[in-house]
Structures are given as structure tokens and as C-alpha cells.
């Protein structure tokens, strides 16, 4: 390890600011500052039960109102090694750069920001010592790491280095904190207010109203295909089913087991709704990923769309679209469906984990650096990059949809050991139904068969 240290440190190209600065005393600025907790909010921190609704409320405009202090993680870190594996996009780059900034002299910093991170993480964290000390994950990608037991509980590290870290940021599994979340995301509705005005409709809050609005738009001859959602066969389509099914109040598995239970009335209703909505979508809809739907939105071809909140910034900026579209684009909560009370959407977080197969010294160094990385300085400098789970975050219009969806009580994406298998099965087996080639019953039966086989292979079912 040590031989790699210095060589690697300055090979870091974009991110190792320490390499550009005088060695040794890298100061981490506002990282040390304690933000005084607002009176009256502090009491909410410990109590999980009553916290829930309040916390979700806090996600909206009141981020700043949440009691939060930055950690007492001390920068620069004097020893250890910080090796981070993460996805590659702006917000994570900012976090990683700030974390790297926290490394003192002689501390190894290795960043690997790659779109292939999901496929690398299990193999990379398996050896002892692991290739990386931290993996940045989301609700779904933390699961394989937990299934294999490759990440460590963070409770001790929090107690020692970040006692004031808000509960909001702590992801706990069976009582142990396994990840620190710092960003939120969800799919929700995007609407064009000018088109709604033209047909004299309010902003829809249920999918039934959405269908009503779409029918009116088509009738008025304003647009041919006014609706889109990310329905590309595979992961995207699976995600749409999961969202809609949860909106219908469905349960994916028989409680406490890995036995799938989607071939039921709720499943059929879910598919019916997806088919009804996509009747208003372009016939290409089975190829629609975020890039396609965003381009469609920006070209002004859509009136209502169900897209990722993280794409909001791009759609609200002045690039790539006309002022007519941008000024009338409004991000609102995901609709409810079928008289249900929860929005048909799942909430997502991004967070960091600490590897198990590393020395405690490296774990402490990485933890402190990452806590610094997600600190207020990063958030303040990158307000528009993400919906941050931080007191320093001032939500702009691009966060309105995610906040509203969270506030309305949408559930998080299930962190189940076998959820990924069901997600893959859903993504692959539903397109034949949406193409009109098979019945909804057959499609659901196929999903169950494909999932059951996969779960058997993986040892979840006998």
C-alpha cells in the first residue's frame, strides 16, 4: 500500500486539490463551523417514531430548519488512506473533491468515479484489504454490499467523529447505521402550465386526473403524444411498475419472505394504468430513457411527463429549450392513483458506506473525509447540482417535485436483498404486454416465473 501512496496521490488528476496546494496544511474552511441548531427542533432528533413525518416535512422548503451541525471530523486528516469508488456525475465529483481536500500530508487518496461502479463494487470490496475504503451507493446498490457483508456499521465512527450528524442522514438496517445519505431523488410529475391553461385544467394530483388532462389535450388537438415516462425496457420500465404498484398500495412479497406476490388484482390494475398512460405516449415509448424524455420535454412535445427530479436542473436552465417551455415548466409531486393516499413514486437516496475489510485507521480517515465531503461548504457551492439532505441546502425550483413527493409520504425504494432480482424480471417481462402481444395476466405470470427462478439460483427460495 505505502509504495502506491504518494505516486497515486499526485496522479489524481482533477480532484486532488491537495496536490495543487502547498503540502501539509490543507485547511478545510467552514468544515469546522458549528451551525447552531434552531430552537425547538433539536428535540426531534432522537425519537424515530414521531420524527418520521417531521423529517419528511423537513425535506421540503424547510431543510434549513432542521437541526444540524457539521461533524467534528478534523481536517486535515493525519494518517490513513482514503479510497473512494463512486458513480460519475457532478454532485459526486464535488463531494469526492471536498473529501480529498481533507487529506493531510502522506494520506493516500484514490478516487475512482466510473459509470461501471455497480459492477465493480462487490469484487472491489471483497479482498482484505479492500481496494476501496468507501463505496458511494444508492438504496438499491447498497443491497449487494450488505448481502455479502462487505460494509461496516458506522455507529462507532459517528459517535466519535460526527456525534451531531442528523438522523436524517443516517441509513440504518436493523439498528445499525450502514450508510450516510446526502442526496435525495425521486420521479415525479412535470407539467406545462400553459397547456393546462389552454384546456382549462388544474395541475393533476391523481393519475385519473392525468388521464383526463391528456384526453383533453389530445381532443383539443394541441399535441399528438402529450405524455411520456421513462419506459425503456429493462431497469427503467421495472422502476415504473414498482412506483405505480406502490401507489396502488401493493406489497411485492409475502411479508418476511422472498416469495413474490404481484400476480394479483393490484398488479393488474398497475399494468392497466401503465398501458392507459402510454396510450398517450409516442409509440417509441419502450425506448425512452431519461435522455429521450428530457429531450422530448425540452423540444416542447410534451405537456405532462413523469421523470426524475435530478433532471430538473437541466430542464429549467436556459439551455436546449425555448423560453416558452422553460417558463411554463412546473415540477410537482408524483400523483396518487386509484384513490390511494401515497404518491406513486419511490424515494431514492445517495450515500456513502465504509468498507469492512480495511483497517480501522483507514475507516476513520475515510469517514472523516467523506463527512467533510458532504459538509455545508460542498452543498453551498453546488446548490443546483442535487437535492441535498443538508441544512445548508436552499432548495430551488428544481427540487420542488422531489420535496413535494417526499412530503406527500412516498415510500423509499425497498432495500430488500432480492429486490434487484424482481426489478430485473419486471423490466424484461413487461414489454410484451405494453406492445400488446400478451395479456396482463400472462405478463405478471412471466415476471413471477422469471423472478422465482432467479431467487432460487441465488438461494433466497428453495
Amino acid at each position: 500500500m505505502t509504495s502506491r501512496m504518494l505516486a497515486n496521490e499526485c496522479k489524481l488528476r482533477r480532484f486532488d486539490l491537495a496536490c495543487l496546494r502547498p503540502r501539509g496544511r490543507v485547511t478545510c474552511g467552514s468544515g469546522h463551523k458549528q451551525i447552531a441548531p434552531l430552537p425547538g427542533v433539536r428535540g426531534q432528533q432522537g425519537d424515530m417514531g414521531t420524527m418520521m413525518t417531521l423529517r419528511l416535512g423537513a425535506l421540503s422548503t424547510a431543510f434549513a430548519a432542521l437541526a444540524a451541525t457539521t461533524a467534528i471530523a478534523s481536517c486535515p486528516i493525519e494518517s490513513g488512506s482514503i479510497r473512494v469508488l463512486s458513480n460519475e456525475f457532478g454532485a459526486l465529483r464535488a463531494v469526492n473533491a471536498a473529501a480529498a481536500d481533507c487529506a493531510g500530508e502522506g494520506v493516500e487518496v484514490v478516487l475512482n468515479q466510473t459509470t461501471e461502479h455497480r459492477d465493480l463494487q462487490v469484487a472491489a470490496l471483497t479482498p482484505n484489504p479492500a481496494e476501496y475504503t468507501s463505496a458511494v451507493v444508492a438504496n438499491s446498490s447498497i443491497v449487494p454490499l450488505m448481502n455479502e457483508g462487505l460494509i461496516r456499521p458506522l455507529d462507532d465512527l459517528i459517535a466519535e467523529y460526527a456525534p451531531d450528524l442528523p438522523k436524517l442522514n443516517q441509513v440504518s438496517v436493523g439498528g445499525n447505521v450502514m450508510a450516510i445519505a446526502f442526496m435525495a431523488n425521486a420521479q415525479h410529475l412535470y407539467v406545462r402550465t400553459d397547456i393546462l391553461e389552454q384546456v382549462g385544467k388544474e395541475i393533476p394530483t391523481t393519475y385519473e386526473e392525468v388521464l383526463d388532462v391528456l384526453a383533453a389535450i389530445e381532443e383539443a388537438g394541441i399535441m399528438e403524444h402529450p405524455f411520456a415516462m421513462n419506459t425503456k425496457t429493462g431497469w427503467n420500465l421495472g422502476e415504473e411498475f414498482i412506483n405505480m404498484y406502490l401507489g396502488h398500495g401493493g406489497e411485492f412479497f409475502k411479508p418476511g419472505t422472498a416469495e413474490v406476490a404481484i400476480n394479483n388484482e393490484t398488479g393488474l390494475k398497475t399494468l392497466e394504468m401503465l398501458a392507459a398512460l402510454n396510450a398517450y405516449a409516442n409509440p417509441d415509448f419502450l425506448t425512452f430513457d431519461s435522455n429521450a424524455t428530457q429531450a422530448l420535454w425540452e423540444s416542447g412535445e410534451l405537456a405532462v411527463a413523469y421523470m426524475w427530479g435530478s433532471r430538473g436542473g437541466g430542464m429549467l436552465d436556459d439551455e436546449g429549450s425555448t423560453p416558452e417551455v422553460v417558463n411554463n415548466t412546473k415540477l410537482v409531486a408524483a400523483p396518487t392513483v386509484d384513490g390511494g393516499s401515497l404518491p406513486a413514486s419511490t424515494l431514492w437516496w445517495d450515500g456513502f458506506t465504509i468498507a469492512k475489510n480495511i483497517s480501522d485507521k483507514d475507516a476513520a480517515a475515510t469517514f472523516q473525509a467523506m463527512v467533510h465531503g458532504i459538509g455545508p461548504a460542498t452543498v453551498e457551492a453546488n446548490q443546483s447540482e442535487a437535492v441535498w439532505l443538508s441544512s445548508a441546502y436552499q432548495p430551488g425550483p428544481q427540487a420542488e417535485g422531489v420535496s413535494a413527493t417526499a412530503q406527500a409520504g412516498a415510500k423509499p425504494y425497498p432495500m430488500l436483498p432480492y429486490m434487484g432480482l424482481l426489478h430485473t424480471a419486471l423490466g424484461n417481462e413487461l414489454s410484451a404486454f405494453l406492445q400488446g402481444q400478451e395479456s396482463a395476466e400472462q405478463a405478471l405470470a412471466d415476471v413471477e416465473a422469471a423472478y422465482t427462478e432467479a431467487a432460487r439460483e441465488q438461494g433466497f427460495l428453495q
Partner: protein, 342 residues
């Protein structure tokens, strides 16, 4: 050549292949015979930024015990090969017993992922391969007839479909064939069908993929045939001309037989590569209508939960498929080889 000399010459190459292909294949074979050991699942209260949920997690300690007892997992024999995601023997038998007509049976078979993928893979292979051979030969003959000055740039531009990274090549083509893209729009005008969309219907998607496949592989066949044309013996051609053979007859009776060994090589490589078709499916977002065996492997390995056993079984089935496809060509090579030895 004595065995010892042969060994020294081949050793570096052989060592590389044994280390990086043979050993992995052995491990893949072993992997395909096992399934994961039982995972002990317990209920847990999970909390995060969005509240608490009662969910399940893997009981690591209990699972670790099982894992230590059976490091490879549970032996499953050929179980993975015959389950629904692969050869689906049981499902086939049920479908055969229950279907009233051949059409109904076929419909059921096409509902099984492996056979659905096999249908596309084989169609793609058997349509693309001859078209690539034909187009490659035609271009080679055409370019060979050009004045020398034009040949260099022509070769470069002909190689472009092969040079441009498939990742970006297919992305850009995907936007060009969009209903609003330059090619998609032109086709709508040409065919006088304003609703035409190459991405919407399965048939059109297959055609698009096949055209892309031919387009991107034709340069390979072209380069090899073009070079082969340079070696056509001049005397034979002249003799044919004196005998009054037309240009076409000369191609038919002199050039094509001369290129036959090249054609065998190109066929071999093309059959294999087309059978492994994968990149265009991802590049053109065609998963809804067209899935191939390689795509199934990719799909197994690229989820949140990677299914190594399933991917291993599909990989072995792919290798067996390739071996069957190539067997006629290989038998020919075997005869050639024995003839040469004598």
C-alpha cells in the same frame, strides 16, 4: 517441426490463452453447475432519510456458516441449464402437452426468454452473414476497378463504420433514425407514411439491427476480399479473356474460386461474431423487441444482484451454439489439413 521447437514457438501465445481464457472457462463451467447456498433472511427495521420500513436483510452470520460448509454453493448439476431461463425443458414439455396447435406451442416457446433470444440471434446470424459476404465482395470488386488515386481515400471511408466506436456510432445512428431524425424523417417522406417509426415495431427494429450489423461488418469482409483480389493470377485472367470470357464470366469462374478460402475465413469469423451480437441491441435500445444470447448474459451480470451461475450457463450454451454453427466449416478445414499432411 519437432515437438520441442513447436512448443517453444507456441508457448507464449498458448500461455496467455490458457491463463486468461482456458482457466476462466473452467471456472465458468464449474460455476454453472452450482447455485448459491441458501441465504438466511431475517426481518429488520430499516430507517433512512424517508422514514422507517419493516424489511428483510440477509443474516450474515447464519449465511456465513452455510457458506463455509459449502464454499462453491450447492451442487445443482445441469439444473441451471434446463431451468426456465435457459433450455426450459420442463416448460417446453408442458407447453407441448397443453398446446392444441403448433402455433400455440410456438407462441409459448417464444415466451421463454432463451428461445426468444435464440430466435433473434439465429435470424440475425443467418441474414447478416451472407449479406456481409456479398456486400463485402461487391465493394471489393468495385473498388478494385477504380483508378489507383481514388483507392486510398475510398478504403479509409469504407473502413469508417468499423473505426467509429460502436458506442457512439450506434448512439448517433439511433438519433438519426428517430421519427424526428434525418433518416427517420426521410423514410417517412419516401414511403409516404407520416406515422412510420423504426423504433416502435418489432419487425422494423429487427430490420434496423440487421442493416446496422451489415453496415458495420461489411468493411471487414471488404478489406480481406479486396486484398485477395490483388493476388488473382494474371495469366489465368488473360487466358480467360482470350477465350472470350466476359467480365462477369471471369468473375464467376476465375475470381470467385480464387477467393473461396478467404470467404471461408470471413464466414467463420462472421458467423461467430454475429452469433455473439450484443452491442447494437444496447446501442439502439432494442431490448423490447430483440434480445440475444449475449444480451441475456449481460443482463444477468449487470443487475444490482449479479447472477453468475445463470450467466455461466448461458455462456456455455453460447459456446456450444457457436461450435454447432461452425462445424460444417471446421469439418472442411479438417479435410484440408489431412490432405496437406499427406
Amino acid at each position: 517441426m519437432p515437438h520441442r521447437t513447436f512448443l517453444w514457438f507456441i508457448l507464449p501465445s498458448l500461455a496467455a490463452m490458457i491463463l486468461f481464457i482456458f482457466f476462466p472457462i473452467i471456472s465458468v463451467v464449474i460455476q454453472s453447475l452450482y447455485v448459491e447456498h441458501e441465504q438466511v433472511v431475517i426481518t429488520s427495521e430499516n430507517c433512512g432519510p424517508f422514514g422507517c420500513q419493516t424489511e428483510t436483510t440477509v443474516d450474515l452470520e447464519a449465511t456465513q456458516e452455510l457458506r463455509d460448509a459449502q464454499p462453491l454453493g450447492r451442487f445443482n448439476g445441469l439444473g441451471t441449464y434446463v431451468n426456465r431461463g435457459h433450455l426450459a425443458t420442463q416448460e417446453l414439455a408442458t407447453a407441448w402437452a397443453e398446446s392444441e396447435s403448433l402455433g400455440a406451442f410456438w407462441g409459448q416457446v417464444m415466451n421463454l426468454p432463451f428461445y426468444r433470444a435464440l430466435a433473434f440471434t439465429l435470424t440475425y446470424t443467418f441474414v447478416c452473414t451472407p449479406l456481409v459476404l456479398g456486400l463485402g465482395l461487391a465493394i471489393a470488386l468495385g473498388v478494385n476497378g477504380l483508378p489507383r488515386v481514388f483507392r486510398g481515400p475510398t478504403i479509409f471511408f469504407s473502413l469508417l463504420p468499423m473505426i467509429v466506436t460502436p458506442l457512439i456510432g450506434s448512439l448517433i445512428l439511433f438519433w438519426m433514425i428517430d421519427a424526428e431524425g434525418i433518416i427517420g424523417k426521410s423514410l417517412q417522406v419516401l414511403l409516404d407514411d407520416p406515422e412510420l417509426s423504426l423504433k416502435a415495431s418489432p419487425t422494423l427494429t429487427w430490420i434496423t439491427l440487421i442493416i446496422y450489423g451489415v453496415w458495420s461488418s461489411a468493411p471487414f469482409a471488404f478489406v480481406i476480399f479486396y486484398a485477395g483480389l490483388q493476388t488473382v493470377p494474371g495469366e489465368t485472367l488473360e487466358a480467360a479473356m482470350i477465350d472470350g470470357a466476359s467480365r462477369w464470366e471471369r468473375i464467376r469462374y476465375v475470381v470467385i474460386p480464387h477467393l473461396a478460402p478467404l470467404a471461408v475465413f470471413v464466414t467463420l469469423i462472421q458467423l461467430m461474431d454475429n452469433f455473439k451480437v450484443f452491442e447494437p441491441i444496447v446501442g439502439f435500445s432494442a431490448e423490447a423487441s430483440a434480445q440475444s444470447l449475449s444480451w441475456i448474459i449481460y443482463n444477468d451480470l449487470r443487475g444490482d444482484t449479479q447472477r453468475f451461475g445463470s450467466a455461466a450457463a448461458t455462456s456455455m450454451l453460447t459456446i456450444i451454439g457457436v461450435a454447432i454453427l461452425l462445424s460444417p466449416v471446421l469439418i472442411r478445414t479438417w479435410r484440408d489439413f489431412n490432405r496437406k499432411r499427406v
